[in-house]
Structure formats: C-alpha cells, structure tokens
C-alpha cells in the first residue's frame, strides 16, 4: 500500500467513521454509497487532499462516484497531479 493510500485511509477512518463503527477500511470500501462519507463531507475530504497533495481538484471531477473508494480517490489525485506536472 503506498503512502497516499495509507494517508487517505487513515484520514477517513479518523474523521468519518463513527466511534461504534467497527468496519475495517480498505482501498475498495464504498465510502459514499456505503454511507461512511456523505456528499457534503466529501468537500472536507477534497480540501484535505488539495492541501496535502498541493493540487486543485476541478469541481466537475469531484463527483460522488470519483470519491466512492480510496482506490478511485488515489487515481483521481494521480491523474490531477500528472496533468499539472
């Protein structure tokens, strides 16, 4: 597991999982459709990624589908980084 994946999983677990929620998060755990992160909270996740990765994720790419798993989030971040490199 790379550093970015680990960082996102840790952040989601810390910020969004309820105290009594015992789910183990993986790269493929559904976040939005699974009810862990709602579409409003997605904004703070987007801000977190932008700050930590020094990127700007275009709003039209920050869709619930693109944020539904950590794997998709990492792919989105990599894609944005590649385009702006």
């Amino acid at each position: 597991m790379d550093d970015l994946t680990r960082m996102v999983i840790d952040y989601v677990a810390r910020e969004y999982l309820e105290e009594g929620d015992n789910r183990t998060l993986t790269e493929d755990t559904p976040l939005i459709s699974g009810g862990i992160v709602d579409s409003f909270s997605m904004v703070s996740l987007k801000v977190f990624l932008e700050k930590k990765c020094a990127i700007q994720i275009p709003n039209d790419e920050a869709t619930p589908d693109a944020f539904d798993t950590v794997r998709r989030i990492v792919a989105l971040v990599d894609n944005v980084k590649r385009r702006t490199a």
């Binding site: 309820e18 009594g20 929620d21 459709s33 579409s39 801000v47 977190f48 700050k51 869709t63």
Partner: protein, 571 residues
C-alpha cells in the same frame, strides 16, 4: 399546545376547505372528535381492510442485503415495539427519539411510538453531538432508540440530559453495551399480536420535528395525529399513489419529508414502499429502481442535479420504464432539471412545496396539470395559499408581484406550536395567514414561482441550516474570535454554507486551520452545516450597535445589491 387565535377563528368557519377535509376524514373512517392514531391507521387499519398480506416495505442496505415485510408484519412489529416501550414505563406524551440510519426499526419504531401515545422525535443520524444535545435537551426526551454506530454520540452527552431515562440499541447483537443501555432485537423479541393503540385524538401530539431559524437554537415544530388527513390525501393526489405502486422516497425520516411521505402518507394509502439504506451512487440508485420496479419516485433537486452530472447515458443503461410519476421537494427545482428528466426518463419531475411547519405538501404541480418548468405549481385541494405583504399580511394580487407565501389556517397537518416557544409560534401568523418565510410571485394562471427566503436561513440540499448554530460552533474553536455564516451559491445544492472568520490575536490563516475548523463544525453539528468554504477576514461588517450584517456578506456572495448601509459601522 394551544391553537393560535387566528386558527380558532378560521376553524369556526365552515369553509370549502373544511368540507374537503371532512371528506378525507370519512375515507379514513375517522369520525371528527373520535379516536385517530397514525400508528394504528398505517398498520392495523390497512390489515382490517384486507391488505395484510400486501408488501409494505422492501428494504435494502449498502451491502445489498434485502428484507421484505408485509402490512401484517408491520402491524405485529409495531405492536411489539410499542409493548416494549410501554413495558419500560414510557408514558403517552413523552418524547422518544429515533436516532439511526434507515433500518427497518426506524420505520417500525416511529409508528410504534405513535401507537403507544408517545411523541416521536426523529433526528438525522448524521447529526453531531452538539446538534443532538440541543434537540434532546429542548424536548426533554425520555428515551432514545439508536444503533451501535451512533451510540457513542449519545454516550458523550448523556450526563447533560437528566430527563433521558432509556437508551435502547436496536442492533446490539450480543455486543457489550454501557451501563444504563438496553439491547432490543426485533427478531428476538416475542411478537405481540394484539396491542391496544393509545386512544389519541386529532389534536394529540404525534411527531416533533426540529427546524432551524435565523436566530437562536432550532425550534421543535409539534405536529398532531390529525396530520394524517393531509399526508394521506396529498400522497394520493400529488404523488399519484395507486394500489399497485412501488414507491421510493429518497428522504431520511430524520427530516419531515421522510416521515410525512416516507412513512405516513404511503402506508396510510396501503402503498408498498422501497427503502435504500445507502449513500448516493447514481448507478446504484438506477439499479434499485430497476430491480424493485419502482413506479413513483419522490426525490430532491440536489439528488436530481447529481444524477444530471452523471449523464443521461448512464440512466439509459438501466430498465427504468417502470417509473410512472416523478416528484421533487426541498428547494426550487430548476427548469433544466425538469427538461432533463423529461428527456431522460420520459416524464418530468413535478415540483412540490411545503415545509416542516406545514407538515404536508401545500403547493404542487399535480399529476395531469401542465408543468411549467421552474414553477412550484398551484395550491393543492383543501389549501388556500396567497402572496401577502410580510409587514401587513395583506394579499398582494396581480401577476409577477413579489411577496411572502402565506397559507390560510387551518389545514390538518399544520404544526400546532413550537415547543416551549409560544411567542415564536404566534409570530408566524399575520392577518389570518400563516407566513412561510419564502418569497414568491404568482403568474396569471395561478402558478407560484419561488424568488428567495425572507431570512438568513441557509437551504442546502433541501435542508434548512440556521446561521446561529454554525456561528456558535465556530466560536468553540480556540482560534475563532467572531464569525458569520451565510449562503453561497452552489450548482448542485442550490446553496452551501460559507463562513467568514476573524481570528484571535496570535493565530494566522492556514490550510490546516481551515480544514480543522470545517471538521469541527461537521463533527459538532452535521455535514450539512459544515462550511464548504471559509474566508478569513480581519473584521466583519456590523451595525453601529454591533450586530453582524449577514445580509451584506450574503449579497456580495450572490452579486446582489447590498442595500441600505446607513446603519453600518465603517469597516
């Protein structure tokens, strides 16, 4: 709760509206002045009419697990939960909170509380502990039904809630609970075949829904069992529910749409409803509609705009031909969404207008009526609505003239008071009208067109958020000296929260600080209340008496004129 003098006066008049509602009462076998219990109406009565074997609930969760319940199951499960609650010593009239995701127990529990005479207080499960505390303390809530994943929030505030006697966890499943908590399992509890429903009357309190205003903490809008007349009637007339329908309401029962049209309206009509306990995913939603053959879909503009972003091609990959009628609520439905749904689903979304306080739809695009994209529609049968001058309550006539939307009391589902705040309740009435607080105009055909809110309340994704709550939470952060929360435009949610924050000496704006403040509000209040943007400022615009001028900040966000600045201190 007492009726407003305005209402008492209106009730004495034998208006055509009263005749309409008398007809609806007859349909529900309700004799005015007699017993009327929503819990019984939605379960036992349906079974007595011979529809006990019909499917009441098709439930599915994020993992794809499915459960199906008949109306007879609904009757027995609500009996079982009602008996359990009564056995704990909970009394009629006590407030009992439902704080859980969309589990079957949420739907059964709400009706069970009503059956035993309690006042159901559903709260959105994404609420943070501060939002929960404020609402439970104000209601003097005696018991809360929750689930393991949300129990932590209840534990952290329980000491501050002396009236809270019972914490009931519906999915403990053998897991250890804290002292003072009880496990309840619907599958393990002995089923109760017979339960004598509480003999409530039309004016007996039923559901307490909290709603946000511009000033002060949220207010509890108290509804009564008589509301079922309006919910039953409008579910059939506006949502077009018919005997063979499978109906899906997207709303969470933590909000009024989720109780009026996610529980009471459809089940009073003996309609099969589908519930998806999962977050948003366009493909998943379409799959849900296709697999359950959903015929009537009641959604919200925010959800529709999210679907629009995913494109019409995605929708066309699924067999959605079962859909017969589409409706929307929560915020104005933009014309593009109506046109898109016509092109994508072959039928338009019908906008409907109502509020927590009205308890049921009051203005709508009825089935069969010409839909004017962007219009809220016309007053529904049994409801008299007008545009009035907000200062005098005098009706404003003539196409295009803007005023406040007003409804003539009383209609059956009107709130009967704000809990503990009689003055705030009285202020909602003027010159014989209930004032909605939304500005609109009426065209020559009698269609209402939304213009904006009369106050500083933020309508985000169809949910009202009060600036006072957000600003109070912001002040809990060690770095925040003062703040103002206003609405800023958003292409998906219509409005989102933006916070202007002035920092205390010794603190400087930073990315980390912005994220820290956003997450604080999200955890304390809810994701809806979290500022989507924070602007750090050195000072806020104020009147000479020191009151923050939110309207100035809001106007700047929307590119509107800031209005009279004569009272503003020099910045």
């Amino acid at each position: 709760m007492r009726a407003s003098p305005e209402i008492s006066q209106a009730m004495a008049v034998g208006s055509p509206m009263a005749i309409h509602w008398a007809g609806i009462a007859h349909e529900l076998d309700y004799q005015p002045g007699g017993i009327l219990n929503i819990g019984w109406q939605c379960s036992d009565r349906v079974c007595l009419k011979g529809r006990g074997a019909k499917t009441a609930l098709l439930w599915e969760d994020a993992l794809g697990r499915r459960r199906e319940f008949t109306f007879d199951d609904l009757r027995v499960h609500t009996n079982t939960m009602a008996r359990y609650l009564t056995g704990l010593g909970l009394e009629p009239g006590e407030r009992i909170c439902m704080f859980m995701d969309r589990l079957p127990e949420l739907y059964f529990g709400l009706l069970a509380i009503l059956k035993m005479g309690g006042v159901a207080q559903p709260l959105f499960s994404a609420f943070g502990e501060e939002s929960l505390l404020v609402r439970l303390a104000d209601a003097g809530t005696a018991a809360i039904l929750t689930q393991r994943k949300h129990a932590g929030k209840v534990r952290r505030i329980r000491e501050a809630l002396p009236a809270l006697r019972e914490v009931i966890v519906v999915d403990a499943d053998g897991a250890a609970l804290n002292p003072g908590e009880r496990a309840f399992s619907l599958d393990r509890e002995p089923p109760v075949e017979q339960f004598d429903a509480y003999p409530s009357r039309a004016e007996t309190p039923s559901i307490l829904h909290y709603t946000s205003g511009t000033t002060g903490p949220p207010k509890g809008a108290q509804h009564v069992h008589g509301s079922i007349l309006a919910q039953y009637d409008t579910a059939r007339l506006v949502l077009d529910l018919r005997p063979g329908d499978v109906y899906w309401c997207n709303a969470d029962p933590g909000w009024v749409t989720g109780t009026s049209y996610g529980i009471i309206g459809p089940w009073a009509n003996a309609t099969t409803q589908a519930v998806l306990d999962a977050g948003f995913n366009a493909a998943r939603w379409y799959q849900f509609i296709a697999s359950h053959r959903v015929t009537v879909w009641y959604s919200a503009p925010t959800a529709i705009r999210l679907l629009m972003r995913e494109g019409a091609d995605l929708a066309k990959r699924f067999g959605l031909e079962s859909l017969r009628h589409l409706a929307s609520v929560g915020e104005p439905l933009n014309p593009e969404a109506v046109v898109w749904s016509q092109a994508t689903f072959g039928r338009p979304f019908h906008d409907t207008f109502w509020q927590t306080e009205t308890g049921a739809i009051v203005i709508a695009n009825l089935p069969g009526m010409k839909v004017k994209p962007g219009s809220m529609g016309r007053p529904v049968p049994g409801v008299e609505a007008a545009i009035v001058d907000p200062r005098t309550g005098a009706p404003i006539t003539g196409p295009g003239r803007v005023g406040t939307i007003a409804i003539r009391p009383d209609w059956p589902s009107m709130m009967r008071g704000y809990r503990g705040k009689p003055a705030a309740y009285e202020k909602k009435f003027l010159n014989g009208w209930y004032l909605c607080g939304d500005r609109a105009h009426v065209d020559a055909d009698g269609y209402f067109w939304f213009v904006g809110r009369d106050d500083d309340v933020i309508n985000t994704g169809g949910h009202l958020v009060g600036p006072f709550e957000i600003e109070s939470a912001l002040l809990e952060h060690r770095a925040v000296a003062e703040s103002a929360a206003v609405a800023m435009p958003d292409p998906v949610n219509m409005e989102v929260v933006k916070a202007f924050v002035a920092l205390k000496p010794g603190f400087s704006p930073s990315d980390d600080l912005e994220l820290e403040i956003m997450n604080l509000v999200r955890r304390r209040l809810s994701p809806l209340a979290m500022p989507q943007k924070i602007e750090f400022v050195t000072s806020l615009p104020k009147t000479r008496s020191g009151k923050i001028l939110r309207r100035v900040l809001r106007a700047r966000e929307w590119g509107e004129p800031v209005g009279d600045l004569s009272t503003m201190m020099d910045e």
